[in-house]
C-alpha cells in the first residue's frame, strides 16, 4: 500500500469522479449518503448498468443523500455539491465552455463492453479539471477505470482505490487492475472514504 501523502492544499479538489461496477450500489450506499450538505466538490459517478433498463439510481440515492442527485443530461453545467449519475447506455464525459465545466453525453462504442465506461469519464474529466480532480475506483469485476485513473494522475489529480482485499462485493478485480496500472495515491477501505473526500473538498487534514 502506498504511503498516504501529506494533506492536500485547501480546497484542492473541485470534482470527484467515481467508477464502480459489480457490487457498486452497496458500496456507493456507504459513501454518498455520508457526504454533508456543505460538501463542495461535484461528484460524477459511472456505475455499470444494464443498457435497456431505466436507472433507478437517482431515486435510490435522492432518498438517502443530503446532496442533490441527478441523472446527467447533455450540456448541463456542473454544479458544486451535486451528485450526477451517468444514464444507462450513454457515456458520461466532462466538457467545458466559457462559463465552466459541463456534462456531455455520447453514444460512442462501448469501452470494456460498457457504456457508460469509467475510462471515458475519467479521461475527459482529467482534461478539464487537471489537478483539481479526485479519481476513485471502487468494486468491480473488470478492468474499466484503470487507464482513466492514470490519466487523472498524469494531469496532477489525486487518486484513490478501494482496498481490494476488503472489497465488499467479492469483485476486487477492478481495484486490482487500477492499482496494477500505475502508482495510486491512496488505497483505503470504504469506511475511510467519506472523510478523505471531505478533506479533499475543504483542504483539511485527513
Amino acid at each position: 500500500m502506498p504511503t498516504p501523502r501529506p494533506a492536500p492544499p485547501a480546497g484542492r479538489v473541485d470534482a470527484i469522479v467515481i467508477g464502480a461496477s459489480a457490487g457498486g450500489v452497496d458500496v456507493l450506499t456507504q459513501i454518498l449518503p455520508a457526504l454533508p450538505t456543505n460538501f463542495r466538490p461535484a461528484v460524477l459517478v459511472v456505475l455499470h448498468l444494464p443498457r435497456k433498463l431505466p436507472s433507478l439510481l437517482p431515486e435510490v440515492f435522492t432518498a438517502r443523500c443530503t446532496l442533490p442527485v441527478h441523472e446527467a443530461t447533455d450540456k448541463q453545467p456542473v454544479q458544486p455539491g451535486t451528485i450526477y449519475f451517468a444514464p444507462p447506455n450513454y457515456h458520461l464525459l466532462v466538457d467545458r465552455d466559457a462559463k465552466g465545466p459541463l456534462l456531455a453525453l455520447s453514444m460512442d462504442a462501448p469501452v470494456h463492453f460498457s457504456r457508460p465506461a469509467i475510462d471515458v469519464l475519467f479521461e475527459s474529466a482529467a482534461a478539464v479539471y487537471g489537478p483539481r480532480l479526485g479519481g476513485v475506483i471502487l468494486t468491480g469485476a473488470n478492468a474499466d477505470g484503470a487507464l482513466g485513473l492514470q490519466a487523472v494522475k498524469r494531469r496532477g489529480g489525486v487518486t484513490l482505490v478501494q482496498a481490494p482485499n476488503i472489497a465488499i462485493a467479492r469483485s476486487p478485480a477492478m481495484p486490482q487492475a487500477a492499482v496494477a496500472a500505475g502508482p495510486v495515491d491512496f488505497v483505503l477501505p470504504l469506511e475511510q472514504m467519506p472523510a478523505v473526500f471531505r478533506a479533499w473538498g475543504d483542504g483539511g487534514a485527513i
Binding site: E71, A72, T73, D74, K75, Q76, P77, P87, Y90, H91, L93, V94, D95, D97, L102, A104, L105, S106, M107, D108, A109, V120, E123, S124, A126, A127, V128, L147, A151, R154, R155
Partner: protein
C-alpha cells in the same frame, strides 16, 4: 490508446480540425471536444499515427483516407424504433395534429444509416399519413447516407427492431415492411418513395424546407453549445408554427437560448412544440 489528457493533444486537435475544414470543407470545429478527442485518438491509433499531427499530415496528403476518418468522426449508432416510448409519444400527441395538414414534410436531421427515417416512414404508413408525406433524411457522411438509402439491415438486428416496433404501439407487424434475403432485411421500396436522402450539414448549411415534424435524436450531444445553438436555430426556422421537434432521450432544450421558442409536449420523451 493515445493520451487524450495532454495539452499537446489539445493543440494538435485544433490544428487537425482546421486542416480538415480548409481541405475538405467539413467543419468539426464546433463538435463537443471531449468525445471528439476520444474518437480521433482511436482513429490515429488505427491508422498507425503516433500523434494527431501525423494524422493531420496524412489527411492532407492522402485524400483516400478522409472517408475512413469521417467514419470515426460521425457516430453511427441507431436502431429501428429506438426508444419505443418516443414513437408512442409521436403516435399519441403528434399524429393527431399532423392529421389536420393536407400535406406533410418531416426532417430527420443527422439520419446516419437511416434507422430513424425508416421507422418514421413505417409509423406514418401505419397511421395512414405516409401517402401525403415527404421525409427528408439528411447527414454529412456520404457512406452512411448510401446505407440509409439502401435500407438493408443485418437480419440479426431484426429481433430487437421488432420488439421496439411492438413497444412503440405498432398497428401492424414489422415483417410487413421488409424482405429477408442473403443475411439482410431489405426495407420496402414503397416506403422509400416517400424519403429523400440528402447531404446536409448542421454546422455549415442553412434551412431548405418548412417542416411540420423534425426529429434529431442523439446528434446534438456531439456538438458544443455554440453549434447546438446554431442547429436549434435552424430547427426553429424550419418548423412551421406549432410544428414538432423531437430530441434524444438525454438531450434537453433546458440549457439552450431557444428554450423559450418551444413548449414541452411529452417532456420525458423530449417532444417539443414550436410556439
Amino acid at each position: 490508446m493515445h493520451d487524450v489528457a495532454t495539452k499537446e493533444f489539445d493543440i494538435e486537435l485544433r490544428l487537425l480540425l482546421e486542416a480538415l475544414y480548409l481541405k475538405y470543407h467539413y467543419d468539426f470545429r464546433g463538435y463537443a471536444e471531449s468525445s471528439l478527442k476520444r474518437r480521433l485518438a482511436q482513429a490515429a491509433e488505427r491508422l498507425d499515427c503516433a500523434t494527431l499531427s501525423q494524422l493531420q499530415d496524412r489527411m492532407l496528403h492522402e485524400p483516400a483516407l478522409f472517408p475512413v476518418l469521417l467514419d470515426y468522426l460521425t457516430v453511427q449508432v441507431s436502431e429501428l424504433f429506438r426508444d419505443p416510448s418516443y414513437f408512442r409519444g409521436l403516435r399519441e400527441h403528434v399524429v393527431p395534429v399532423l392529421r389536420t395538414y393536407p400535406s406533410l414534410k418531416v426532417w430527420v436531421a443527422g439520419c446516419s444509416t437511416g434507422e430513424e427515417a425508416w421507422s418514421l416512414a413505417i409509423l406514418l404508413r401505419e397511421e395512414g399519413l405516409l401517402e401525403r408525406t415527404l421525409i427528408y433524411a439528411t447527414d454529412i457522411n456520404p457512406t452512411a447516407l448510401q446505407r440509409a438509402e439502401a435500407g438493408v439491415y443485418a437480419v440479426d438486428r431484426i429481433a430487437s427492431f421488432t420488439q421496439n416496433h411492438r413497444l412503440s404501439g405498432a398497428r401492424t407487424s414489422l415483417s410487413d415492411y421488409y424482405t429477408a434475403a442473403y443475411g439482410g432485411a431489405v426495407f420496402d421500396r414503397s416506403l422509400k418513395g416517400h424519403i429523400v436522402f440528402s447531404d446536409h450539414s448542421l454546422a455549415t448549411d442553412s434551412v431548405f424546407a418548412e417542416v411540420q415534424l423534425l426529429s434529431c435524436r442523439n446528434v446534438l450531444i456531439y456538438f458544443n453549445r455554440e453549434l447546438q445553438e446554431r442547429a436549434l436555430g435552424l430547427f426553429a426556422e424550419s418548423l412551421c408554427h406549432k410544428g414538432f421537434l423531437g430530441l434524444g432521450a438525454r438531450e434537453s432544450l433546458r440549457f439552450s437560448s431557444h428554450e423559450a421558442s418551444f413548449t414541452p409536449v411529452v417532456p420525458e420523451d423530449r417532444l417539443y412544440q414550436k410556439r
